[in-house]
């Protein structure tokens, strides 16, 4: 792994060096070409279609894998996402927090940190991609995936806390690699170590893909949309410099400022969406009509109903990361006596991320009328598999155009939001990737710096490459994590069930109760 990456990096530096003399556009194209060739086979494997067609359309097996996983956890835990919803909110509010533990990471903080890693471009650009290809109907499947995904999050985050490593100096490391290796050993199931290593490898790729390149790529698209076209590697270098300053230079103040600004950006984004939706209240019924009709008929999109479903599920998984395992790394820092409480808190994450924020984006895009409809048939006009839009936009530019129909200045706010979201997601994922990296190569300053430097290089590649190959690789890497993680969750879900039963009975008996604050 180490050797492979360093060879790849050398090839890249050599490639970049010889390209300096060429025109700026040349560098971007070279990077894009190398990248697409290198990642192609991996992407094809993850998105391979099922051997049979579903409703006449090719169906990637990975989407089925995610749907089945989330459905199994939902049924196994008896619709825990609905039963425990109120209790989750009480936990986040701190009703059950022991005052003597004040000063430790609170449930709210763990949720907020995990959310700032997930709320981001997936909600803005990812949803636009889903709606742009799968039509408004994709929203229905996205919401369903979000609701089911709450059970996957619940399972993985409980395990994340239960099996984390606590070091003598008081710091913690947790995540799927730890619960896979420790949990499998505890249950006497073989192959734990191998799966943990496999997960770590995919987690590193996911960190470099969805957690890094996709962010850099869309941040560049947003900036160049406002100031005009210019080569992507320039944005990449700027971003890489700031990321370097934070993760290698240890300039925490930048990260701290972002962590504080991002939640407000998120709230501002949702408020703006609500204002637009309310201002067009007469169309809300119509928009939901489009969402429902599109969910089951496709309304002319490529692949029909199945096309809408695939897009909805794919983008929901990419946005809320349920079943992927990344949140388990973020949530494991909470010092709670009851690992299950962190599971309860984490199930709010897909709800906020997908059911609330993604739906807002989808509604605004639908209501704004950016998607072109054939007036004669009422079906969406498609070209090359995507729905034609008024300005020929896609991804984050489509969301931007949709918001701009109501507020002409909104693209500027969105640009700042996108940059900050991209940045905070990168910081979060640099940590997730680092944890996987140190799991493989051991903790230590040098190994950590090596990973951080690789991470910065990929910022530049991500900004320079085209959206197509970047989004394919990002999806593939993140879904590869889900393949390993969900397999492990099947093995370990009885552990969570035991924790859940014990906790519920102690809550009933009054042993666990609210603290008077």
């Amino acid at each position: 792994m180490k050797l492979g990456l360093s060879t790849f990096l050398t090839a890249l530096t050599v490639g970049a060096g010889s390209a300096v003399a060429q025109e700026a556009k040349g560098i971007d194209e070279t990077v894009n070409e190398i990248f697409a060739n290198v990642t192609g086979p991996f992407v094809n494997l993850i998105f391979a279609p099922l051997p049979f067609n579903v409703a006449g359309a090719a169906f990637p097996w990975i989407v089925l894998w995610l749907v089945i996983g989330a459905s199994v956890f939902t049924l196994y835990f008896g619709f825990i996402q609905f039963r425990a919803f109120r209790h989750s909110i009480e936990l986040v509010k701190g009703d059950y927090a022991d005052p003597n533990d004040a000063g430790e990471v609170s449930h709210f903080q763990a949720l907020a940190t995990a959310l700032s890693g997930t709320v981001g471009l997936g909600n803005i650009a990812g949803v636009a991609v889903a709606v742009g290809i799968g039509g408004p109907g994709a929203t229905f499947w996205m919401i369903l995936a979000g609701l089911l995904g709450m059970a996957s999050k619940f399972t993985e985050c409980t395990l994340g806390v239960k099996y984390r490593n606590e070091y003598p100096d008081g710091t913690v490391s947790g995540g799927p690699m730890y619960y896979i290796s420790k949990g499998f050993a505890e249950r006497g199931v073989p192959g734990g170590k191998f799966l943990a290593v496999l997960f770590s490898v995919f987690c590193i790729l996911g960190a470099l893909g969805g957690g890094n390149m996709f962010q850099a790529n869309q941040a560049h698209a947003q900036i160049s949309g406002i100031v005009g076209e210019y080569p992507g590697w320039i944005t990449g270098l700027l971003f890489a410099a700031v990321v370097f300053a934070v993760i290698v230079g240890g300039i925490k103040s930048i990260a701290r400022v972002t962590e504080k600004v991002v939640p407000f950006m998120g709230i501002l984004y949702v408020l703006a969406a609500i204002v637009i939706i309310l201002a067009n209240y007469s169309q809300i019924g119509w928009a939901f009509g489009q969402i429902f009709a599109g969910a089951f008929t496709g309304l002319g999109v490529a692949g029909g109903m199945v096309g809408a479903l695939i897009q909805g599920f794919k983008r929901a998984a990419f946005s809320n990361e349920a079943g992927v395992g990344s949140a388990a790394i973020a949530h494991s820092a909470v010092r709670t006596k009851e690992p299950i409480t962190e599971g309860f808190v984490s199930l709010l994450e897909p709800f906020i991320d997908t059911v609330v924020i993604c739906t807002m984006t989808a509604l605004v895009i639908t209501i704004s009328g950016q998607l072109m409809v054939d007036p004669a048939t009422g079906l969406y006009l498609t070209e090359g598999g995507t729905i034609q839009t008024v300005g020929g936009t896609s991804g984050v530019a489509l969301t931007s155009a949709a918001f701009a129909t109501a507020f002409s200045w909104f693209p500027y706010v969105l640009a700042i939001a996108v940059i900050l979201f991209a940045f905070s997601t990168m910081i979060s994922w640099s940590y997730y990737g680092l944890k996987a990296w140190t799991y493989l190569f051991g903790e230590g300053k040098t190994t950590e710096v090596v990973f951080k430097l690789i991470f910065c290089v990929f910022v530049v590649i991500g900004a320079a490459a085209n959206l197509g190959p970047v989004i394919d690789f990002s999806d593939a890497a993140i879904f590869a994590m889900a393949v390993v993680n969900i397999s492990a969750l099947y093995v370990l879900m009885p552990v969570v069930k035991k924790e859940l039963n014990s906790y519920q009975s102690r809550r009933k008996s009054g042993e666990i109760r609210k603290f008077a604050h």
Partner: protein, 145 residues
């Protein structure tokens, strides 16, 4: 007659004046216990990076250690040397809320604090810890100028 005094310190120079007043008051009471409290300002609703979360427990221990070493233990030792019955408490949270809560829990007769040490914008926006304590305390408060 016996009494309990809660003395809130903030680690600034005003601490000596607060302690002097507490000693004076305690010497007038037959049996008196002085509880020296230092509150580390902390909110469960702040935002942190994953790395900060992972290191939080370690930092918390360090913060408590530093508060004990620099502020609370020297004050308690000084009180004991002068013949008073004293002990120290370090907690994380909101200064005004916690001083009041500790005083109520300990059934203290009085809280003694210095006048506000915050200045500028922070004080204008959020008010001062002392100001908030005086307004909301359920136990008599003495503010030392």
């Amino acid at each position: 007659m016996s009494a309990k005094l809660v003395v809130g310190l903030d680690g600034s120079g005003s601490g000596n004046r607060v302690l002097d007043y507490a000693k004076k008051l305690a010497s007038m009471i037959e049996t008196c216990e002085v509880i020296v409290v230092y509150v580390i300002e902390w909110s469960p609703f702040s935002f942190q990076t994953p790395e900060e979360n992972a290191e939080r427990h370690k930092r918390r221990e360090e913060e408590i250690q530093a508060a004990n070493d620099r502020v609370v233990n020297p004050a308690v030792e000084q009180l004991k040397k002068d013949g008073f019955n004293a002990r120290g408490v370090v907690r994380h949270g909101n200064v005004a809320d916690l001083l009041d809560q500790i005083a109520v829990d300990e059934k203290a007769d009085q809280i003694i604090v210095a006048r506000t040490s915050e200045g500028g914008l922070v004080q204008r926006v959020f008010g001062s810890a002392t100001g908030n304590l005086v307004m909301h305390a359920r136990v008599p408060v003495t503010v030392i100028g």
